[in-house]
């Protein structure tokens, strides 16, 4: 490792922290609040050190009252600040669902455009750490159902570092989901990169034989699956949605037109999932491009279990993605 790459070497956790630090340094209107974000350093250690650097006025430990501090973030945004609210995990966000849906998502429309809510709400999501059925769910698809919200899911180091700034620049409420298995992911940031958007999906691996459409914690699994397929000469394209609402339909359909086969990989439950929405859009907009029915790899329809072998079996895995991809390639069309 040379000096330049050493400077770019980081983890997802550190990249997210650097994004927070840069946001706090860049704009005095920005502040951070949530449970244990200060003295404890954040339950996933993302905010460690920020209290010491920016002080208790801008890095605020809150009581365990999700509805009050999420609502306070919404109110502070209306009042002229740019709050970043951290909720420990998406399961806890249900305690603040009233504020997120009935206020953040609704006030702009209900007031005839008079009030906008530029708040960013960060939360951890997903399974893989044996945290059982109240700390492991992937409910971002629920939030992506709601008009008025923007929902983003950084899955790479670059996005972990830079999506926050784009979210803060947006005048609408943005929900930012960080998958818990990504925090320890290490690698290098793209040299010279200064900013990313929160509007477009990104092709993370080009391919001609099929497309794996995914986001968040399932991206590394799809890339692993694509490598496994590649050893057999099957070239899978991997499309990272990045933004779950609004969906980048154009990028999805472009990929479908290139590969004509699609597997949607989503850690949410299959029924009524984001994967269902993506699939339906493909059927609506690019049906005649398909050489085979769209396939899905989702979580088993159970609350996430504690023991490792059961948790692993409940979640999408590279092996399952490969299996479904092979089945898809075996079906009809030109393949």
């Amino acid at each position: 490792m040379n000096d330049a790459s050493a400077a770019l070497h980081t983890s997802y956790r550190e990249a997210a922290r650097e994004g927070l630090r840069a946001a706090l340094a860049a704009d005095p209107r920005v502040f951070l609040m949530g449970e244990d974000v200060g003295r404890y350093g954040g339950c996933y250690a993302v905010t460690k050190g920020l209290l010491q650097e920016f002080g208790p006025e801008r890095v605020r430990d809150t009581p365990l009252s999700e509805s009050a501090f999420v609502g306070a973030g919404i109110g502070a945004a209306i009042g002229g600040l740019r709050p970043i609210v951290e909720i420990m995990t998406v399961n806890f966000s249900l305690l603040a669902l009233d504020q997120i849906l009935n206020n953040a998502a609704t006030l702009c429309h209900m007031s005839g455009g008079q009030v906008s809510v530029p708040v960013v709400i960060r939360m951890a999501t997903g399974a893989g750490r044996q945290l059982a059925a109240q700390h492991s769910h992937s409910l971002e698809g629920w939030y992506a159902h709601i008009p008025g919200l923007r929902v983003i899911a950084p899955a790479t180091l670059d996005d972990a570092r830079f999506m926050l700034a784009a979210a803060l620049a947006c005048p609408d409420p943005v929900l930012l989901f960080e998958h818990i298995v990504l925090y320890n992911m290490e690698g290098e940031l793209t040299a010279g990169l200064q900013a990313v958007d929160i509007d477009h999906a990104a092709v993370r691996r080009a391919g001609r034989d099929l497309t794996l459409v995914t986001y968040g914690g399932s991206l590394p699994k799809c890339l692993a699956a694509a490598n496994m397929l590649g050893r057999d000469g099957i070239e899978a394209e991997v499309l990272d949605l990045r933004t779950l609402r609004p969906l980048d339909d154009a990028a999805i359909m472009d990929s479908v037109r290139r590969t004509h086969r699609v597997v949607v990989v989503d850690e949410g439950w299959r029924s009524g999932s984001l994967a269902a929405e993506v699939t339906t859009r493909i059927v609506e907009q690019a049906f005649y491009e398909l050489d085979a029915p769209v396939a899905r790899v989702c979580s088993a329809e159970v609350p996430i279990p504690y023991p490792k072998h059961l948790e692993d079996a409940a979640l999408p895995s590279p092996e399952r993605i490969v299996k479904i991809a092979r089945e898809l390639l075996a079906r009809g069309g030109n393949g």
Binding site: G71, S111, D172
Partner: protein
Amino acid sequence: MSAISRERGLAALREMLRIRCFEDRCVQLYGELKIRGFLHLCNGEEAVAVGTLGALEMSDAVVSTYREHGHALARGLAMGPVMAELYGKHSGTSGGRGGSMHIFDAARRFYGGNAIVGGGLPLAVGLALAQKLQRQPAITACLFGDGAVAEGEFHESLNLAALWRLPVLFLCENNRYAMGSAIDLVESQTDIAAKASAYRLLSRPVDGMDVFAVADAAREAAAHVRAGNGPAFLELRTYRFRGHSMFDAQLYRDKAEIEAWQKKGPIITLTTQLKGLGLMSEDDYQRLEHDARAEVQAAVEFAERAEWEPLEQLERFVYAERTQ
């Protein structure tokens, strides 16, 4: 309490009569199907609206509930656009998109019109946090009913506001019924001011039928909050003369109870008081009532003339249309 002058007395009565006439006309318009949806009227609670809103500065923020016509009018929103909002017309205060329960006016810092019981309290805490962090001299007034006291958001918000010493003036409009549930059927402690004081903030009960008692208490509490002493809480004890909404058959309370409270109503009490003190003649009263009715009539005509929003605009305002 400050001495009552003719000027102060007539001003308070004028404001309360505007609200009463507005609400009474709404009943008629609802019957004519001009106003639809849920309609919650504040007859009997006019002293709370006039006394509390009158104690604020225009730089202060206000968060209200779905029973907010009186609050909006007392805040200075023009009656025509408020009525147009109830009609759902484009020139309504929220462009017609909110209706009776969601009156907004960002210019007057009137932030709804919140129809989730308790949902406005966290919002008010956040507005106050913004005021404090930006070193503004302004405060946030948060109006809610006794029903909100049973919600978790009430307790979370009082705790957070007191903990962070935020400039929130909590105004609990206790009309004794959460929809059809009498307060003693839903609260273990019916003394709401006492309950609030557990959060270590200035808290006191007020006769919500006495407009000057409300105004004086609100002014004192607002000054306390504005001086940086943290939040204050007023329990304004009042009564709702009409049903919860227009669908309410009022099976849960006796007519005798309503009649007893009507005798203690804020408008009749003040009228009797001013006449008794020789500060107001019957002619004065008739003129105030006439003026209020004329203003309401003009508001109805404004709403009748107003346009419907074009269908092509259905999906506007889901996201912000201006950059910040």
